[in-house]
């Protein structure tokens, strides 16, 4: 590719490539905003004026509470398994990642069922011991319930970052600080915690974004957030314009979270020797200290993964019959097909966008890629309707200019759903690839370019092999996210396209919770298998 000289800004192929995804991500929102009416009815204005403070207050509480609790759990566990060695640590390292495989909404009604009046906990107390906990005022406030569910399903985002960091740097830091005369507790708060700030911010940001656009858990517990307000406005009151404006406010909140996270990350960056420090050895625990670390990890594994999965297994036994199991096969097939196809597209686009950004580094391409991350933070239903409007526009144009085009309308094919998946999960894949680039440094690419290879050959021959781990890791995260996805799938799927998630939804919608357990377990097993695979693969790459 010929490079233009003279510093003239030009729209090269690279710039175009780096803009491709951001434009693709922005299109549904453009169609949405352009196609919606302004103004709102008197009724809705009155509801809004009364409810807006509640929306803001409960959104703040549930987002802040969930991120805070997830951070505490994530850091405590990372401290345990990242800096110490004790019997069972290796197993815990993997098990503590597994809550990633449980969709939050499934955890919500699983725990509700477990602890509710007809659940195993209360039933056992009542029928075996004659104790009715309700006589003692047993109840939990709905906000606390939601925060608990979000924290136990989302803490792995914090845990992953913090554990990796502590594994690589923590032990030597800890040793030096203790040698300098600090107690372990003081060292934790004065040395380790500040060092963990970047991982805390990165993980915490993901938790915030997940909670902000959640609908399943919040509506289950009757929490009033911006996302539930958008649903109420649009699908309850038919106030599409007002819903879009609420979505814009939500977007502002999201921007705020992202900006805050950027600022915090800049402020808290310490320069450390890069890579894993060789002398860094986790401290071996014995006796009481080992038992304490073991029981903390066991408690977390129980609460966050083993107990909910155990409840699902118990329900599966209750609702088991051969017919139901057999009927899950097409759901499983279609889930894997959609997730696989979308993951392939997303990773290809992520690699291309990252490549374009690095071939032509500049503020613009970086910014554009960040803008593309917005798809991750918008309530799925809003994105879904935007995508429907975009595809309807395309189909109208096709019908007009190319009548008889095979397969039209596009909006009734799987393309619509795949497109929406890409918009939503692009940033997950892209962040992984970017992380890979960061780890690789500029040296290999520059050496290759100096030796006369073009950017494409450099990418194929030098960068791609080095990015292998990042690409695999990113693919797995994207794949598991899509297997867990529900709202987009529900609205945008073509006829007779049923995933495991939509099957769970149908049963849950009929309030037949035990029956949800088989498809829910299938989701968890797929997710867990991939998470374990990622962990083992990563280990192989480390050594």
């Amino acid at each position: 590719m010929a490079r233009r000289t003279g510093g003239m800004p030009s729209l090269s192929g690279w710039t175009a490539l780096s803009l491709l995804v951001p434009i693709g991500v922005a299109l549904p929102f453009v169609f949405l905003l352009a196609g919606l009416p302004g103004g709102e009815s008197d009724h809705w204005r009155r509801v809004l004026s009364r409810m807006l403070p509640t929306y803001i207050w409960e959104t703040t509480l549930v987002v802040g509470g969930s991120a805070g609790l997830a951070a505490i759990i994530g850091v405590a566990l990372a401290w345990c398994v990242g800096l110490h060695d004790f019997p069972g640590r290796k197993a815990f390292e993997i098990v503590l990642l597994l809550p990633l495989a449980i969709p939050s909404y499934i955890a919500a009604y699983t725990y509700d069922g477990l602890l509710g009046y007809t659940g195993a906990f209360q039933t056992a107390l009542r029928n075996r011991l004659g104790i009715d906990v309700n006589d003692y005022g047993f109840s939990a406030p709905r906000l606390a319930c939601a925060i608990f569910i979000f924290a136990i399903t989302l803490y792995p985002y914090v845990y992953i970052f913090a554990r990796t960091y502590l594994r690589n740097h923590g032990a030597s830091m800890l040793e030096s600080a203790i040698l300098l005369g600090g107690g372990r507790g003081r060292v934790f708060f004065l040395v380790i915690l500040p060092l963990l700030r970047p991982s805390l911010v990165a993980g915490g940001t993901l938790v915030c974004l997940e909670v902000l656009n959640d609908y399943g858990v919040t509506s289950h517990f009757g929490i009033h957030t911006f996302t539930t307000a958008i649903f109420a406005a649009w699908f309850g009151m038919g106030e599409a314009g007002s819903a879009a404006r609420l979505a814009l406010m939500l977007l502002a909140a999201v921007l705020l979270v992202i900006l805050a996270s950027k600022a915090l990350q800049k402020a808290g960056r310490y320069r450390l020797a890069s890579g894993k420090e060789k002398g860094s050895r986790p401290r071996r625990l014995a006796g009481f200290a080992a038992a304490r670390a073991f029981s903390l990890c066991l408690a977390a594994a129980l609460v966050c993964f083993l107990v909910p999965v155990g409840q699902m297994l118990a329900w599966a036994r209750l609702s088991w019959d051969a017919g139901t199991v057999g009927s899950l096969a097409p759901h499983l097939r279609q889930t894997l097909f959609a997730a696989g196809a979308a993951t392939a597209i997303i990773m290809a686009l992520s690699a291309a966008t990252a490549l374009a950004g690095h071939a032509r580094p500049g503020r613009g391409s970086r910014l554009a890629a960040q803008a593309a991350s917005m798809g991750y933070a918008i309530p799925a239903a809003v994105l879904a309707i935007g995508a429907v409007m975009l595809f309807a526009g395309i189909d109208r144009a096709t019908a007009r200019f190319a009548p008889g085009f095979p397969g039209a309308p596009l909006g009734m094919t799987i393309c619509l759903l795949l497109y929406a998946y890409v918009v939503r999960f692009f940033s997950v894949g892209y962040q992984a690839v970017e992380g890979g680039y960061l780890k690789m440094g500029r040296l290999p690419s520059e050496a290759s370019r100096t030796l006369g290879r073009g950017p494409v050959m450099t990418f194929l021959l030098v960068e791609l092999p080095l990015l292998g781990n990042a690409l695999i890791g990113g693919s797995i995260l994207v794949f598991v996210d899509i297997v867990k996805e529900l709202p987009l799938t529900l609205i945008l799927r073509p006829f007779n396209f049923n995933t495991l998630g939509t099957r769970v939804y149908e049963f849950a919608n009929n309030e037949a919770i035990p029956e949800t357990s088989l498809p829910a377990l299938a989701i968890v097993v797929i997710g867990a298998a991939f998470v374990v695979f990622m962990r083992l693969w990563d280990k192989g790459g480390e050594s």
Binding site: T118, P141, S219, M237, R396, F495
Partner: protein, 339 residues
């Protein structure tokens, strides 16, 4: 295309784009996810050779999708629960009238749209459920009486985001006027045993747990709980009683599940055949026995459990108006603090 890879890609793309088109099928957007419905789709295919393709989801989102797809939509039928939603679909302009002699014969006039934009399939009532242990049913009379101070701290409801209570309040607005309905909702909000939460079955469970004495619930959930695979759920249902209020006044709140022919339906004839099939006695009895709903076809037999509840008086209102009054109901809920 010289390159075989491109050829293969093109073939794959065509495979993706292939839309099930044309004859021998009917395409349904449905917000009913009951297992009994799926069996009916199979039976229809066996009887007629017409395949039933479905997308299930939340009704308002399905309407929004049909609306945005416009003339391109592949939906032939829209099926949902709640008369207000059917009214909303009619108002959104996504439905068209459908009338045949069989439809006239099988659906009573008050259970279909006067212009035939939608037809009822089944009905369900929103009744008062009470603790058999702590409440004497003779103390119950009307929805209005639930707002009396004697029930302070005793009433259980789900979040007002739920359509069932929105339609109940809308029906009271239609029958008694907005002012009286607002006073009623405020009275209920003042009598709540706890913050509104959970689904319908959770309200019955809360009664069993002693958190409150009275709850509002749809009839078919009682049937499903009594026949649940979970023995604890069966116990809960057995310990709660069912009360049909307002028998000397406006009647118990009845809601409807119904079907409408989509305006741009591409398989009109098949769609009409499917509607007539759903309204015929065997399908109607299947819906009643499989899901504990009341059939609309007067010739269909009710399930034994429904029979055991006896005859009762139901509200007589135009279901479309539930949709018209929905925004007012939502406003009232937000103002009286029924969250």
């Amino acid at each position: 295309m010289r390159n075989p890879i491109w050829c293969a890609l093109a073939v794959m793309l065509l495979g993706v784009f292939r839309v099930s088109a044309g004859e021998g099928e009917v395409n349904i957007f449905t917000a009913r996810h009951y297992e009994s419905d799926k069996q009916l789709y199979e039976e229809f295919k066996k009887a007629t050779g017409i395949a039933v393709n479905t997308i299930s989801g939340n009704a308002p989102e399905l309407i929004e999708r049909i609306k945005r797809e416009g003339g391109n939509t592949r939906a032939d039928l829209f099926i949902t629960v709640d008369g207000g939603i059917l009214g909303t679909a009619k108002k959104a302009g996504v439905l068209q009238p459908v009338r045949t002699p069989a439809i006239d014969e099988r659906v009573p006039a008050h259970l279909r749209d006067s212009e035939y934009h939608w037809l009822g399939l089944t009905t369900r009532c929103r009744v008062i459920v009470y603790s058999k242990e702590r409440v004497n049913p003779s103390a119950l009379s009307t929805y209005a009486a639930l707002a009396d101070p004697e029930w302070k701290g005793k009433i259980l409801v789900r979040s007002s985001a739920g359509l069932y209570d929105q339609s109940l309040l809308a029906s009271l607005i239609i029958l008694d006027g907005a002012e009286k309905a607002e006073r009623w909702a405020a009275g209920i909000a003042a009598n709540l045993a706890r913050d509104p939460q959970g689904n319908d079955r959770d309200q019955a469970k809360a009664i069993a747990a002693g958190k409150g004495d009275l709850a509002l619930m749809n009839t078919y959930y009682i049937g499903q709980m009594l026949n649940s695979k979970d023995p604890e759920e069966v116990k809960v249902a057995q310990n709660t009683g069912l009360f049909f209020p307002d028998q000397d006044g406006g009647g118990v709140h009845v809601n409807i599940s119904g079907v409408g022919l989509v305006k741009h339906a591409k398989n009109r004839d098949n769609a009409v055949r499917f509607i007539e099939f759903l309204l015929d006695i065997p399908a109607q009895e299947r819906l009643s026995s499989g899901n504990y709903e009341f059939p609309v076809n007067p010739g269909a037999k009710k399930h034994e459990l429904l029979k055991s509840w006896g005859d009762f008086k139901t509200q007589r209102i135009d279901f479309n108006r539930l949709g018209d009054e929905n925004p007012e109901a939502v406003r009232i809920f937000s103002e009286v603090g029924w969250k």
